[in-house]
């Protein structure tokens, strides 16, 4: 069926009939669905009712000022993609780059988004950052309850058999590892 048959509402009658024939083909010989039983069927069949059609629309319907926002005051380090000429007027300020992960992130932002090293360095920085997070917790005197952070309470409540299996597998792997290490040590 033509995707545009109903778009402008000026097609000839025989084209509509043709559309119905096509419909039968595309429904594969099945009886057509009872459209009246489907809540709201066809409410947006007319593209005029589709708010994002076409995808780009000018002028926009939103009542927004057309002036560039004034720049947000910057108090922390914010990394900027080399694919931009300058800082954007708005940005998020939490978690500025810091530590070893921050150094890796700064290095990543020396390459463009087009360069895969950019993303791989950022992923590496994310992993380093996890270790930094643990150290930061310990430095504050907080021993993180990693099992609680991973939702072990929910696992116990809703997937007890799965949890027991995971623990059994982990214990077996640890046991075999310990045995192998011990045997190696005895040789």
């Amino acid at each position: 069926m033509s995707h545009h048959t109903h778009e402008h509402g000026h097609e000839h009658a025989h084209e509509h009939a043709h559309g119905r024939n096509d419909l039968a083909v595309f429904q594969h010989g099945r009886p057509p669905v009872d459209r009246s039983a489907i809540q709201g069927w066809g409410a947006d069949l007319d593209r005029k009712n589709r708010p994002a059609y076409p995808m780009e629309r000018m002028p926009q319907r939103l009542d927004a000022p057309l002036t560039q926002p004034e720049p947000q005051a910057q108090h922390v380090e914010v990394l900027v993609s080399p694919e931009r000429p300058h800082m954007t007027p708005l940005f998020g300020s939490p978690q500025p780059p810091s530590g070893l992960s921050g150094m890796l992130r700064r290095a990543a932002f020396k390459t463009t988004e087009n360069d895969v090293r950019h993303w791989l360095l950022l992923l590496l920085a994310d992993r380093v950052n996890v270790v930094e997070g643990l150290a930061e917790d310990l430095a504050r005197g907080h021993v993180p309850n990693i099992f609680a952070e991973m939702g072990i309470k929910a696992e116990w409540e809703h997937n007890r058999v799965g949890l027991v299996k995971k623990v059994a597998v982990a214990a077996a792997v640890a046991g075999v590892g310990y045995y192998l290490l011990k045997r190696r040590g005895e040789r």
Binding site: Q60, Q68, P94, G133, M150, K153, E157
Partner: protein, 394 residues
């Protein structure tokens, strides 16, 4: 304030953090009353999105009450109950002027490929999200929408992302009357995409997943046919058999980079990160759609690269359309649909969880435990609202 705190892949907790402050005269501070966990939060939770920094608060689906406004805010006032689209956008840049609010050029210094998104890593602007008691909302005159008095708060929170994204997925499929539409993924976005396909006049809607309780739900909720891909040898072949060997007119990817269903994709994607997640659903879409058909992608993928059968897409003459949803442009029509009773979003909410239990909430959603479809987090300061809402629902 209490806020969700990301500590590393599969590790989150509720923590006390400093309250957000007005950082720009166009900002507002919103006291969150409801925040959802989105399927795309799971990509962050699983450590797949580059530049997800430890200490970040996630959450791009939230509603709340305006607590404070900056000096330039004129349209919102303290006490307004607002829903906040997940896009952080300015309304005035080249892209916003074309209603591409998901592609705003003024809100994300860290990447040029995507606009700002609340609580979605520094790759999406480094903003903290709404899984907290308070959140900073930039461009408060442009983004938020005051919730109409007759709109339930649970419907409002689903208007911030899940429903508009599902609706836009159907719209980008350019569905014509009688079209056969296949939606991959029976999560919240896929459920709403299936529902929206009918609104646009589809003749047949088929939803594919492997989680039985979700297939059961979508079959009833969206009155569609369902396929459990675990029971099918080859997805493209199966869809072709179902469609007189032509293929579907429209295929929608409502899954993204963590798709199950192909061991090689899972190995090279989420497990070893040789590609930016699993491209299983992209393969299924391209190979299951008919020649000249449309593929609409709203599932999220990483920024590097995926192996996709682009040659088949070329040979079949496909149209591929994709984007982050531009939530704001959809809101007036979607509010009409809810008010007219054509769609009842809040039915998909299965879990209401105190923010303090965020770690368990993420695990339940991520592991699809307890028949979970959609989880709403409720901060302690909104407990009273919660009690009222619970009474209203019962």
């Amino acid at each position: 304030m209490l806020a969700m705190n990301y500590r590393g892949p599969y590790r989150v907790r509720a923590d006390h953090k400093p309250d957000p402050v007005i950082e720009h005269p166009g900002d507002a501070i919103v006291r969150v009353t409801r925040a959802c966990i989105c399927g795309s939060d799971l990509h962050l939770y699983h450590g797949l999105v580059p530049d997800t920094r430890v200490g970040t608060t996630f959450g791009h689906e939230f509603v709340g009450i305006v607590e404070e406004v900056g000096s330039e805010v004129t349209k919102l006032k303290v006490g307004d109950h607002v829903l906040v689209p997940f896009n952080v956008f300015c309304g005035s840049c080249f892209f916003c002027q074309r209603e591409l609010y998901g592609n705003c050029h003024n809100t994300n210094p860290q990447a040029s490929a995507v606009g700002g998104i609340y609580g979605y890593s520094h790759t999406a602007g480094g903003y903290d999200g709404g899984q907290a008691e308070f959140v900073r909302v930039p461009m408060a005159d442009v983004g938020p929408t005051v919730i109409p008095a007759d709109l339930h708060e649970d419907d409002a929170v689903l208007l911030t992302d899940a429903l508009p994204t599902g609706y836009q997925a159907a719209e980008m499929g350019d569905i014509a009357e009688g079209d056969t539409v296949v939606v991959f993924g029976a999560g919240p976005v896929g459920i709403f995409a299936a529902k929206s396909a009918w609104l646009m006049g589809a003749g047949r809607v088929i939803v594919v997943d492997h989680v039985e309780y979700r297939l059961d739900f979508v079959r009833r909720y969206a009155q569609c046919e369902v396929i459990n891909f675990r029971e099918v040898d080859d997805m493209a072949l199966h869809i072709k058999k179902m469609t007189d060997w032509l293929g579907a007119d429209v295929c929608i990817d409502a899954v993204g980079c963590e798709a199950a269903g192909n061991a090689m994709q899972t190995l090279t994607g989420p497990y070893t990160m040789l590609q930016a997640g699993s491209a299983t659903v992209l393969h299924w879409c391209i190979n299951s759609v008919r020649k000249g058909g449309n593929v609409s992608i709203v599932g999220v993928y990483g920024p590097t690269f995926n192996a996709v059968p682009i040659g088949n897409a070329l040979n079949k003459g496909l149209t591929l359309r994709m984007n982050q949803a531009s939530v704001k442009r959809h809101l007036p029509r979607l509010i009409e649909h809810i008010q007219a009773g054509r769609i009842d979003p809040k039915q998909i909410i299965t879990h209401r969880v105190p923010l303090e239990e965020v770690a368990d909430a993420y695990h339940i959603f991520s592991s699809k435990l307890d028949n979970c479809i959609k989880t709403v987090l409720i901060p302690p300061s909104a407990r009273q609202t919660r009690a009222v809402a619970a009474t209203a629902l019962n």
